[in-house]
Symmetry: D2
Subunit: 299 residues, 4 copies
Amino acid sequence: MKKAPFKGVVAYPVTPFDNNESIDIPLFKKHVERLVSAGSHGIAPLGSTGVMPYLTDAEKEAMTEATIQQVANRVPILVGVSNLTTEKTVYHSQFAEKAGATAVMISPMSYWKLTDDEIVKHYDTVASKISIPIMAYNNPATAGVDMSPALLKRLLQIPNVTMIKESTGDIQRMHYLRKELGEEVTFFNGSNPLALAAFSAGATGWCTAAANLIPELNIALYDAVQENDLDQARRLFYKQVDLLKFIVAKGLPRAIKTGLDLLGIDGGGFKSPLKPLTENETSELDGILSAIKSEIYQY
Amino acid sequence: MKKAPFKGVVAYPVTPFDNNESIDIPLFKKHVERLVSAGSHGIAPLGSTGVMPYLTDAEKEAMTEATIQQVANRVPILVGVSNLTTEKTVYHSQFAEKAGATAVMISPMSYWKLTDDEIVKHYDTVASKISIPIMAYNNPATAGVDMSPALLKRLLQIPNVTMIKESTGDIQRMHYLRKELGEEVTFFNGSNPLALAAFSAGATGWCTAAANLIPELNIALYDAVQENDLDQARRLFYKQVDLLKFIVAKGLPRAIKTGLDLLGIDGGGFKSPLKPLTENETSELDGILSAIKSEIYQY
Amino acid sequence: MKKAPFKGVVAYPVTPFDNNESIDIPLFKKHVERLVSAGSHGIAPLGSTGVMPYLTDAEKEAMTEATIQQVANRVPILVGVSNLTTEKTVYHSQFAEKAGATAVMISPMSYWKLTDDEIVKHYDTVASKISIPIMAYNNPATAGVDMSPALLKRLLQIPNVTMIKESTGDIQRMHYLRKELGEEVTFFNGSNPLALAAFSAGATGWCTAAANLIPELNIALYDAVQENDLDQARRLFYKQVDLLKFIVAKGLPRAIKTGLDLLGIDGGGFKSPLKPLTENETSELDGILSAIKSEIYQY
Amino acid sequence: MKKAPFKGVVAYPVTPFDNNESIDIPLFKKHVERLVSAGSHGIAPLGSTGVMPYLTDAEKEAMTEATIQQVANRVPILVGVSNLTTEKTVYHSQFAEKAGATAVMISPMSYWKLTDDEIVKHYDTVASKISIPIMAYNNPATAGVDMSPALLKRLLQIPNVTMIKESTGDIQRMHYLRKELGEEVTFFNGSNPLALAAFSAGATGWCTAAANLIPELNIALYDAVQENDLDQARRLFYKQVDLLKFIVAKGLPRAIKTGLDLLGIDGGGFKSPLKPLTENETSELDGILSAIKSEIYQY
């Protein structure tokens, strides 16, 4: 069986910027602390929510170190290290390993669509330079290339590629992975509105930025599935589905930071060209959060 | 609450043709009998599996009457009456009602893409001419037009449109319907590979031709969901998922008839231009059916 | 070289209905006469514009005969005979041949997506039963199945399949046909907004309902290309492009009939569920037609 | 009228790497010289073909300076400066201006899909910091975001955004731009297989890497259009279309470098994870180049 250090709700913190568009590390640490305290089963800095591709090398390194320091071994840490070039991906993977990350998450960033052979070689090269596990992350909407289930299966032949994160939102991909690879492969769902269907299909965990806003509902959904209580899982899912759809539709960094502000928590500023939600969108999000809050004490 | 005469596994029989490409009614009745005996919760003649759009008016009428006669009130009957023109849809709906159908299923067949207003008017006209319930059926892959969840919600304002059948395979459509319309709306899943996800999302039933080949697995999946046993539902789903994907990928009439032949049951011939599966496809299907058979006594 | 009885602007008349949704044959003949008088190089009744799939067999036959009578050998006639079943396609093809049609146009109508082999067999069966030429018509948006350029090339191996009509709007399909099949293959463009690009790519003709509204501009564009005058062709195309896009976006029967009304010509009524343009759409079309009229005397 | 310093064939050189995956500047200069000598009307370093996003800041600066030095004012120079962040895009734009570039080319690189307002603000900020013209470049396949024609129209309101490069391959986008913006707007085609259709539609120029392999055919096509000789333009296009399709299908850096090798010219190495064409692909490209060579003296 492949080693899988993660399960449950893996939470993705935002990266807060100050007025000069520099990272505010102390504020970032507060966000990490909130996520750990809320009961998240893992923390994933430098994800899509954390706008990793927009950061300089020095910023990425500071974020990695800050996370590891703040988490202090309470939960496992998954560090995003994807990069357009193999050289840089190796560099950041090695940095994460030395700093103490539990595992790294890698998507095949692409400007030019990569061939399957190029992608396999890319993962293989990185894997040979580190000894911690790799989560292969498929998200064509952001990374620009779609890894087929068959390719993901190929990647799992590389010894320390032990986890798959699927974010296409296509439940059939998960059926394929489970059917082809058996119950021992751990795959994670990265598409928020697919949370119920993915857990029903046997996903090991849920990689989500929603835990910044509604951690108790996210975790309760996972718990209901663990307890084999489909009715309860369904009820919990429908309580949160509007938020899950909204944050994906609007872009996670925008929606989560604005949501934090609505909850009275400083989400920090943005790195241009990314901007906050518009006034109308903010008002829509406020309505969704209020509806959740009014229901939340009932289940 | 809207009246919903169906639930569970609604089975779609094939339409068998003889060597002259005429319908073999006695053979058709045997298929109906098999489906009822197997425990199907409803029977749906003249569906996509039954190649309804390829039949003459007289053939459709003979099929409707044969079904009603054979079922003999043991389970409810859902008759497909979709047609390109409103006039013909009214005609076949009235025929079905008089013949004793429980309800009719209508998709907005289209050559020219219909506007939302045209679709609403079409359903409204038909609904005003009959008094049995209507299932609004969305399947863009066959009918040629995609009804958005918002449009389906509009159709449910028409008094006897009381059921939705969603066959896009997009689980988010079902989330929307349930969230927008509440627990009292009955929606049915028509996408076989989505069976587990749809039941998890709260689907009332599953419209499927798979019941011609593996009725016990289809029904057991429904039962597991009814018993709130997600683990068992998942196990049962993974036993049948390869078949569910195959029959959709190859076209239901081709795959089901060839599958019946493999099971030693006469599925009857085809109406040109539709043809049976190729030799390679037949061999692939044989492998899938054999794998299911070898597992089936284990759960 | 394959026999190609058509070239230039092939005009598609509408099918006018009366208040009881029956065809108004005398009014239809007036439309045919207008198209011939305007200089169209061919007439194509029972096309998509003529809502052929919505008609009964008797109606189709009456339309075919009325066209042949009215045209009286002045230009060649292309009769649409597509049908879901091979049997009916043969029937209508034979009727058209006996009635005196120059050629028939056939698209592989589909409810169930047809395989390539099924499509080839379908055309081959029909071709073997008639001796007039066949135009293979690819329009996935209406017929529901997309014939690849490679499949179209296969169809051209059938002796009397001598013409291709491509309506996907993808100019690369035409490049492929021309490159693979040489200058002797005649392919026709059925996508109105692609008229300039298709003629530039070497299309033999343009199958269009626009000739009901702006025949002089359609024919002048063809003439400019024949005269190798790209600058003039471009000018003429930009005069009409807004109309070409509009009629496709709104559906040809709706847009052409409403446009005829705006020009003071009785376009006749519709067959339900198809309806006329809305008030706003009619107003938009009026603006487009007025802009064309004000420019038309300048070139 | 907006200032448009480019027209005709704008050639995109490759970026050659040595065995350590460092840029080989002397070899790069030879490629620039070949393109200028062949009669290209402009040179565009740091484009997609030049794998700009994979380079470090220092590498980009060295390439910019090398190009300007080698071209020595013989033709205008268009430098690619796109970047995920606004800050870095400003930085590289200012560098290019100071170094002597004629204009800069900017696509809205995206990891998170940008909103229209974010894109406008991004261009506006960059435009306010430089005084040379900007070409707004739309290529969703590489940049990850699709700028609608309406958004491109909005961008043209910014004073020094004076040119559009459209690489979607959708000819209707160009019709829209020309129709909406008039004959004075200069738009460039960046989709190689669309070269004939785009020039027919009125494109001012063609941004292409094909000029590394078949500059004489590229330039002759442009000349034929300038001479209003559509027949000749069509003949020339069909001579090169197979190559144009191939290089796009396989990825420009891979296909162009391998093609250079086949022509006996050192194209240099790749930056991982990008790799050369496979053996089969190389053989296919060889066949295409040979067919062109054997025809080329005939027109």
